[in-house]
């Protein structure tokens, strides 16, 4: 059995799965249930200035019958009294000393408020702090949350205040509502943050009720932009993560990966791109804490199969495989192949290629089943047919290099080689 224990800046947890700062980590009741289920740690729902929430608060995007492919909220930070939160944090730590307890913070925008809040939180015995520079709604209007994360200078200033007071590790959570997370990332690393976490939610309108014509979530005939998360945002999160783990400065600190992690596979992908652990929210809001079992089990089995003994054996292993377009090997070529024994004749590959790609699939009409074959000379190897095929391993991409040697775009141009494929 592989060892899936995690050590993030000295904050230890039995597995790399933390619950992200959100409703699931809002109070002792939930957190104890999560720990009992086996979660490695939690980031307590953001503490800070007093707020009031509205009703309703969530909305979702369903896809082809699947619910909550994307999830959206307009909730603010914790609306419970600070002293109750602090008391419950201390109790949870006492009951589950082996789990990670990180507390998310968003103080009013002055040094004194931050210092007071940090002091109080540290007194609970918490293991770390996460600075909420990400919340895209409600708090930004008060110059907090994403308003801080979107401005590298303000972010730098706040982190400096925090570092003056903090005695435990500090993680800065970044907002994706910027063209690049790197400037803020660099700025807070310079200011001394011990780690980064990303991404927070993405501003969104999830959909409009076609009867009332008001978007969701509905609050008395109005709505607001919410924070989008869930499986739909994972690819975007992975991209932002990579920009941080590839940057010379930001890659010097550990990163906690967030954004649509629902399965052990998602977690592995975040870690392969350099996250030291992951945080989960939407998946538990959809299915409850019990999903931790497969998150651990699947990770364990995969590590065993691949021969990785510890998380560090694979964290970051894929970071260097993402390169610049102009470095790609132009002589690499592959062609689709349809396995006729597996083909169920649905024709999806054909119509996709015919209507939207390179007309590289031949159709031989039959009754009721047509036969589809690849026209090798026409196939540019785009993968579309393989992507739309509903049968596993029915369409495979077979390597047919144009030439044995590597050549990139710059060299190609220099040699004046031909440009158009078709």
């Amino acid at each position: 059995m592989a060892d899936i224990r995690s050590n993030f800046l000295g904050i230890k947890s039995p597995n790399p799965y933390w619950l992200a700062s959100a409703p699931p980590t809002d109070k002792k009741y939930n957190v104890l249930r999560a720990f009992e289920a086996g979660w490695g740690g939690v980031v307590w729902k953001t503490l800070g200035s007093q707020v009031k929430n509205v009703s309703s608060r969530y909305s979702a995007v369903d896809f082809n019958g699947g619910r909550m492919m994307g999830f959206n909220n307009i909730e603010l930070i914790s609306d419970r009294p600070l002293d109750i939160n602090l008391k419950e944090i201390a109790e949870c730590i006492k009951l589950f000393p082996d789990r990670a307890m990180v507390v998310s913070l968003m103080a009013d925008n002055d040094k004194k408020s931050w210092h007071e809040l940090i002091k109080k939180v540290e007194d609970t015995g918490a293991h770390g702090l996460e600075l909420n520079f990400g919340c895209p709604h409600g708090m930004t209007e008060r110059g907090m949350g994403a308003a801080v994360g979107q401005d590298p200078e303000i972010a730098c200033m706040v982190v400096e205040w925090v570092m003056e007071a903090a005695n435990i590790p500090v993680i800065t959570k970044l907002t994706p509502n910027v063209h690049s997370v790197v400037p803020t990332g660099r700025s807070v690393v310079k200011a001394g943050t011990n780690a980064l976490s990303l991404i927070n939610t993405i501003q969104s309108v999830t959909g409009i009720d076609l009867d009332t014509l008001v978007p969701n979530p509905y609050v008395a005939g109005k709505s607001v932009f919410g924070g989008y998360c869930g499986p739909a945002v994972k690819p975007i999160a992975l991209k932002f993560l990579t920009t941080i783990t590839q940057d010379e400065l930001t890659k010097t600190v550990p990163v906690s990966g967030i954004g649509g992690v629902s399965t052990w596979k998602d977690a592995v992908e975040f870690m392969l791109l350099g996250a030291s652990n992951v945080q989960v929210c939407t998946a538990v809001m959809h299915h409850g804490f019990r999903i931790i079992e497969d998150l651990c089990d699947g990770l364990n089995n995969w590590m065993d199969e691949k021969g990785f003994n510890t998380l560090d054996d694979f964290i970051g292993k894929s970071v260097d495989t993402i390169t610049h377009w102009e470095d790609l090997d132009i002589n690499y070529h592959h062609i689709a192949k349809i396995n006729q024994d597996k083909c169920i004749h649905c024709g999806l590959c054909y119509i996709a290629c015919e209507d939207t790609s390179h007309q590289s699939i031949n159709i031989q009409k039959g009754n009721p089943y047509n036969t589809y074959t690849i026209i090798d000379e026409e196939c540019v190897g785009c993968n579309l047919c393989q992507l739309v095929c509903p049968v596993d391993d029915c369409i495979t991409m077979e390597e047919h290099r144009e030439a044995p040697e590597y050549i990139n775009w710059i060299e190609w141009q220099k040699k004046g080689l031909p440009l158009n494929d078709h």
């Binding site: 649905c346 999806l348 009754n367 049968v391």
Partner: protein
């Protein structure tokens, strides 16, 4: 003993409830709709005689465009609701579903089709608009699936249609022949009314061609005539004892169940059903459901040659009907004018016949069954008399038509069971469409 009222009202209701219940909720329909792969040049569509665009109507359920979905179905098959209940889908659309090739359950196409079209009927959506009258009149004989489908297609193009129907209700064998657990009389009536709601179609009931009206009259008064008279009486067995009390014809037996009500239809204790087509299955299962103790189905050939589908045979078997293969009725014995025994020849399979199926050969051995009722379901015979009377070219009573659905008499077209000798409702619907298309060409309304 042959008697009616064998069961309690509650038992009848249970026995004759819908064998394929509809979806309970829109969510349930969407779960199945979302499983559909949306195949291109879809095998299901190609396997539907009316070429319903199945992937399209299913996608429309998934996108909650139910009106669009119903219109997609009805555009190809105006009896789309009825067909969703009576089509042998396991050998048509669902049988061709690509999921079968993955050894997975096919998409429940019929159930989804029923979902959209029943909503359309319930809400009485007007999905088709009749074009302005073009001043042409067509007479249609027979208000069965072929006749109705032809009339609807013609009316859409602005033709004024009059249907002459010998019975007092429309729907043809849909109304008079198909088992009660598939469609109810009320449904059949609703379906006919929904089809007629386009306007421009008048049905004259209790008007029989050859009795109340003549072909010459119709030809004179109308610009074209479409014959959709179906097939007639059950084929006679031509064996001794056929006149005994307790020998009944499957179609009238089935119709009585529909028409008179379950408790009024007499059924024996030990029933023999002769034949292995859809009619035989319907007769056997319904005899059982009416309270017969033993039902034995007899067929001259084997399971490999049977005309019904495996699915239908399973329904009968699950109802507890027995099957004896390779058995041909030889004579029916009785006493005091009532059926007592059925003597059968044991058969074996010989050389393939014209249909390509191996034909049964008498072995000379016989066996005897004690029975008190014999239901004849060995196919139906065409209305030969009237067809010959009007000198319509025919093959054993099946009206001959050319590629334009035209008979040998100018301006007279035909289709449905009357031409094909008896297939499914869906084939008759397609025949009606084809007929309408040809008539429109003939009248110069479309080319």
């Amino acid at each position: 003993m042959i008697e009616s009222n064998k069961l309690s009202e509650k038992q009848y209701q249970e026995n004759f409830s819908d064998i394929h219940p509809p979806y309970e909720s829109s969510t349930a329909a969407k779960v199945d709709a979302n499983r559909c792969l949306f195949c291109y040049d879809a095998p299901c569509m190609k396997s539907c005689p009316t070429s319903i665009d199945v992937p399209k109507f299913i996608k429309q359920i998934a996108t909650e465009n139910i009106k669009g979905s119903a219109k997609t179905i009805f555009s190809s098959n105006i009896m789309g609701t009825g067909c969703s209940k009576v089509c042998p889908v396991e050998k048509l659309c669902e049988g061709a579903c690509v999921y079968n090739l993955l050894e997975e359950e096919p998409i429940p196409i019929a159930k989804l089709q029923r979902y959209s079209t029943e909503i359309a009927m319930e809400k009485n959506w007007k999905l088709f608009e009749r074009k302005k009258s073009v001043g042409k009149k067509v007479a249609i004989v027979g208000a069965g699936p072929a006749g109705l489908s032809c009339a609807h297609a013609l009316s859409r193009e602005g033709i004024d249609c009059t249907i002459y129907e010998k019975e007092s209700k429309g729907g043809g064998l849909m109304t008079y022949g198909i088992a009660a657990y598939k469609v109810t009389p009320q449904f059949c009536e609703d379906e006919v009314n929904y089809i007629l709601s386009i306007g421009g179609i008048e049905i004259k009931y209790n008007q029989e061609l050859g009795k109340d009206i003549t072909l010459a009259q119709l030809k004179k008064e109308y610009d074209a005539v479409y014959l959709a008279i179906g097939v007639g009486v059950a084929r006679q067995l031509a064996i001794p004892g056929e006149k005994l009390e307790g020998v009944v014809d499957a179609i009238s037996f089935i119709y009585d169940i529909r028409d008179k009500g379950y408790s009024s239809v007499p059924v024996g204790d030990k029933v023999a059903v002769i034949g292995m087509g859809m009619t035989a299955i319907d007769a056997a299962t319904q005899a059982k459901r009416l309270g017969a103790k033993e039902v034995t189905m007899l067929y001259r050939r084997t399971e490999d040659e049977m005309p019904c589908t495996k699915h239908e045979l399973d329904i009968a078997m699950l109802d507890g009907c027995e099957v004896v293969w390779l058995a041909a009725p030889q004579k029916i014995k009785g006493s005091q004018g009532k059926v007592k025994q059925l003597v059968c020849s044991k058969m074996k399979l010989g050389e393939p016949d014209a249909s390509g199926r191996r034909s049964p050969v008498d072995t000379g051995e016989t066996f005897t069954l004690d029975v008190d009722m014999v239901i004849k379901a060995a196919g139906q015979t065409p209305f030969e008399k009237i067809i010959k009377k009007y000198k319509l070219d025919n093959k054993n009573g099946k009206i001959s038509i050319n590629e334009n659905c035209a008979t040998n008499i100018k301006g007279v077209f035909a289709g449905g069971d009357a031409v094909n000798g008896g297939k499914e409702v869906v084939d008759a619907v397609q025949a009606g469409k084809d007929g309408a298309f040809s008539i429109l060409k003939y009248l110069g309304v479309k080319n």
